[in-house]
């Protein structure tokens, strides 16, 4: 005999007068709208204003943003630290590369395929990742990022027998009349970024998104309310890998190469994603976008500041990173939120990534 469950009969009360969503200060709302419109306008107009070389840099920032957003899902929202997302990026780049160069596919069709392949690899990594926590997970992912170019060396023979694939000039040409190739590439990347941002926004504000955060902060308690830990962790891995794969695919178009000749290149990519995520604001939606722009801008400026002493450039970049983390420990978006909360005298939204159960320390 099983008992029936009561759903709980409640009396009518003040619960009905409390808004179901936190009220937003109209000043903040106004500000957000203005910023949003300006940003959108700038983003749409940019490729007509800048020369091709600059557009390429902007496009690079955009695909960096996509990859960083993917990493943010896994590391920011779900707490699984990965310093190997470059590997998924590489998977995406080489999937597109192989399909375009060896199979003659139209480039645009390879983007979803690249994301899918990367997602599958992410799934395969996500399962063993369940066994390995925090620091060790980070190191295993590091190993992946280092392993990937090695695998490329072994199994991919591009031009000259090295794992380097390049599209022919016609492969990634603009599909739209009136747009130069670099402008088209920019818009395509922007489109993917917008789509990906909307997906992220929807996910994070849904039951699944809350489950991701719950698993990050108190996984045992999450299990006791019915969250399937393994499922959440593995799926987050797969989805975040898909984002990185899509970014990699876009990089094939923009940089016109899929290159695994340098053994540390995908490790460097992984670090790039991580930096963009942290600088922009971990566990925020727009953080990775802002962070990616900041990182790319910063790199350009430190490179330009020292003509003739190229060694100084990474040193300055490193110093700048340290400074940013000091001044804005919650990233740029985190800092903006604190600022607006001070202005509106409302409490700031919950801290983006405070560590209570810290996964990276024993």
């Amino acid at each position: 005999m099983t008992t029936t469950r009561a759903s709980g009969r409640e009396q009518a009360g003040p619960a009905t007068t409390t808004p179901i969503r936190p009220p937003i200060d109209p000043k903040v709302r106004g500000l957000r709208i203005v910023v949003g419109v300006v940003a959108a306008a700038a983003a749409l107009y940019a490729p007509f204003y800048f020369p091709a070389a600059q557009n390429k840099v902007l496009s690079q920032a955009l695909y960096l943003a996509i990859a960083a957003m993917g990493l943010n899902l896994l590391t920011g929202f779900n707490g699984q630290v990965s310093i190997g997302h470059g590997a998924f990026f590489g998977v995406g780049a080489f999937t597109s590369g192989l399909l375009v160069v060896k199979q003659g596919w139209p480039y645009e069709a390879t983007i979803p395929v690249a994301a899918l392949v990367a997602a599958v690899v992410g799934l395969l990594v996500g399962f063993p990742a369940l066994r390995v926590r925090g620091l060790y997970l980070a190191l295993v992912t590091l190993g992946l990022a280092v392993l990937f170019p090695q695998l490329g060396q072994k199994y991919v023979k591009g031009s000259g027998g090295v794992p380097l694939l390049q599209p022919s000039l016609t492969d990634t040409k603009s599909l739209l009349q009136g747009l130069a190739d670099d402008q088209y590439a920019y818009y395509l990347t922007l489109l993917v970024l917008v789509i990906v941002t909307l997906l992220t926004w929807s996910l994070v504000n849904s039951r699944a998104g809350r489950a991701m955060v719950a698993v990050r902060d108190q996984e045992l308690a999450a299990a006791t309310v019915g969250v399937n830990l393994a499922q959440v962790k593995v799926l987050t891995f797969a989805i975040s890998a898909a984002y990185a794969g899509a970014a990699g695919s876009l990089s094939f178009m923009i940089d016109r190469v899929a290159d695994a000749t340098n053994p540390v290149i995908y490790f460097q990519r992984s670090i790039e994603f991580l930096v963009a995520m942290v600088v922009g604001g971990a566990a925020t939606i727009t953080g990775p976008i802002v962070g990616a722009l900041a990182v790319v801008l910063l790199r350009r400026n430190t490179e330009q500041l020292i003509e003739g002493k190229p060694i100084l450039s990474p040193a300055l970049f490193g110093a700048a990173l340290i400074a940013i983390v000091y001044v804005l420990p919650e990233g740029i978006i985190g800092g903006v939120r604190r600022l607006t909360s001070r202005v509106t005298h409302r409490p700031p939204p919950p801290s983006t990534l405070t560590t209570t159960t810290s996964d990276t320390s024993v």
Binding site: G8, E10, A15, P23, S202, R210, T224, N228, P350
Partner: protein, 253 residues
């Protein structure tokens, strides 16, 4: 018929025996209290029932079903919810969102639907309304949109209570719910527990140290010491049981 049936459950951690052949039952609709000195094994029992610990021996049946075969995230589907001794809320979420996570098992939007926004809006609205109702019932509704981090311990305990209610349980296990409350608040809590039991048609299992509250609201008490049950029965019987007095106060000189 017994809702929860614990039979000869033993839990060993290496050489330490946390629970030693523990057996007791809880009837539907009862408020049952699990008491005993610190380290007696009370939270261990909770962890066995919520499947966070493996039992070395014995069986636990809930509503006729064998619990010990289930994964931890499945027990909420049977209707068991619990709170934690040291509060395990999600600090990055608001109070309301914490309660909404409690309703996770009743939701449908997974990663697929979450990404493409299918059914998200309606589910969110429904979950938020329901969460606010529960918060209201526990007098927490003003805090709904505040981050859970930084609130006083007693408040956090109540939020956890709300989260557990959101799972729509049949059996609600509360681990030291009166921790951190003043005397007045403890009395209020006792009343609240009884009212909620009646209103939501629940069965409750409490671990508690506040004897006045335990004696006042419990229908049935189980006393543990060193992992073993040393007494069981209604409050009056337990209160006067010499073994219980000895466990708490020591043997008479």
């Amino acid at each position: 018929m017994a809702l929860l049936s614990v039979r000869d459950v033993s839990v060993r951690f290496g050489g330490v025996v946390a629970l030693d052949s523990l057996s007791f039952e809880i009837e539907v609709g009862q408020i049952c209290a699990l008491i005993g000195p610190n380290g007696a094994g009370k939270t261990t029992l909770f962890n066995v029932v919520s499947r966070l610990y493996e039992a070395s021996a014995g069986s636990v049946d809930f509503d006729g079903r064998d619990l010990l075969r289930l994964a931890p995230h499945k027990i909420v589907e049977l209707g068991i919810a619990r709170t934690f001794q040291n509060v395990a809320l999600f600090p990055a979420l608001t109070v309301l969102e914490n309660v909404m996570v409690g309703a996770h098992a009743h939701g449908k939007v997974g990663f697929g639907r979450g990404l493409v926004h299918l059914g998200v809006r309606s589910e969110e609205t429904a979950m938020r309304r329901r969460g606010l109702d529960i918060l209201d019932r526990l007098g927490l509704v003003e805090l709904a949109h505040r981050p859970a981090a930084g609130l006083p311990f007693g408040t956090l305990k109540r939020i956890e209570f709300a989260r557990a209610l959101a799972t729509e349980p049949k059996l609600l296990m509360l681990d030291e719910p009166a921790n951190g409350l003043t005397h007045g608040e403890v009395d209020e809590l006792g009343t609240t527990i009884r009212e909620i039991r009646d209103q939501f048609d629940l069965t409750m299992l409490l671990v508690e140290h506040h004897m006045t509250m335990v004696m006042a609201i419990s229908d049935h008490i189980v006393v543990l010491d060193f992992g073993r049950k040393i007494a069981e029965g209604p409050p009056d019987a337990v209160r006067n049981d010499p073994k219980v007095i000895e466990a708490y106060l020591g043997a008479p000189a």
